[in-house]
Symmetry: C2
Subunit: 231 residues, 2 copies
Amino acid sequence: MPTERPRRRIPEATVARLPVYLRILVEQAEEEVECVSSDRLAELAGVNAAKVRKDLSYLGSYGTRGVGYEVAYLVYQIRRELGLTHDWPVVIVGAGNLGQALAGYGGFGERGFPVAGIVDVDPAKVGSVLGGVRVRHIDELSQIVQAKRVNIGVIATPTVSAQDAAERLVAAGVTSILNFAPVVLSVPRSIEVRKVDLAVELQILSYHEQRRSGGSIRAVGNAATQRSASA
Amino acid sequence: MPTERPRRRIPEATVARLPVYLRILVEQAEEEVECVSSDRLAELAGVNAAKVRKDLSYLGSYGTRGVGYEVAYLVYQIRRELGLTHDWPVVIVGAGNLGQALAGYGGFGERGFPVAGIVDVDPAKVGSVLGGVRVRHIDELSQIVQAKRVNIGVIATPTVSAQDAAERLVAAGVTSILNFAPVVLSVPRSIEVRKVDLAVELQILSYHEQRRSGGSIRAVGNAATQRSASA
DNA sequence: CGAGCTTTGTGAACGTGTGCACGAATGCAT
DNA sequence: ATGCATTCGTGCACACGTTCACAAAGCTCG
């Protein structure tokens, strides 16, 4: 039972793809598939087969030439590399529209990120229950983070409160933040921040639509693989 | 009043940053700021100043040396390049938790992406009103897309229905898709797909947390700028 | 056991993105 | 007018990411 620490640093682009491979592999395992080739996995993930092999090679040489990769073992290895061998409780800041949707969306806990708490500044929201978790006041944030050993915070507040939320999260001891508010957060360099911005995504689509219609000479060319969040 | 078509192709990485600059510039304009330097803009956007200049240079030479960029004019140019000179109505497929949150989140229409319709397969959901828009049956999708000239579809269905939703959207004539379901959609190459995947984002954060704690030799190092959705 | 087929793992070439460093242009003060 | 401080625009070098192409390794079958 190998438990060695990750040897080499894994490229950010690869880290962003590993979760996709993982999901596909888990699905394959559920369908009793025991072995996949890089070709098959590439097809399912919508990427190039060489890329799959190179990505997986960063984990070590876990494939068998002429055969492919053993699904169960690969699932184990990717889980280990991504730190998914144990749960990562998250705390959600903001119990508005989005916070409610996030809490209500069960898939959170199932995937190893149980909601350890939801907080809001608005006393009127405190006490209500969302997805089985009671909303508490934001002043209790530190206590929740400490008690439940939370490392990851989710910002689901209105834009204007997001920076404040970030500072409170950092002060409470959170070291990773997933930010849904359309602002660039200012936090210490040691804090890992990822952003999900609806408007940005739509505007990128708008750019391509605009090129398509008003397009000068050409437009398409590649199109190809679907873009996703990453570095 | 220049209305020429985009000359050069803009790098994807730049396209992903333009919306961020745009938002900041609009905020600056609201604060009566008339002129910004690349340094200032870089600071607000959390990126390198040289990068800002290079990004903006793809739009043309709209800065004034020794002075900076005129906010209003830059806003106009970025809007034009991103195709934001007119609205892009969107249609949302799926009136569940997420679909409701999206429809309820007013910021959609404000930012130039009015919700032209919401559809669902479940007849029980049809008829209810979300964010001022009545939920209609998915069989009416084509009709909505045609009538409202919708180019962009948003998939907010459960995972299993996402591929079906994608196919219906494409059949209806939509050419860009924003997908919230954790699946790799299979669509014609000409369709532009962008993905927003909660679980992937959290798992990337998990990776970094895991490195941080169990980290072998090194861990931090860069951290730095916050990653976001892009190519 | 060896031939032939399959599939991995990776070196090398290529393409894209980033950041420095500096010339060129502009504004301002004297 | 001239000089000085500022800031843009961009050439260049480097880092990162992608893809090709092929040797090495394993399986199957006769």
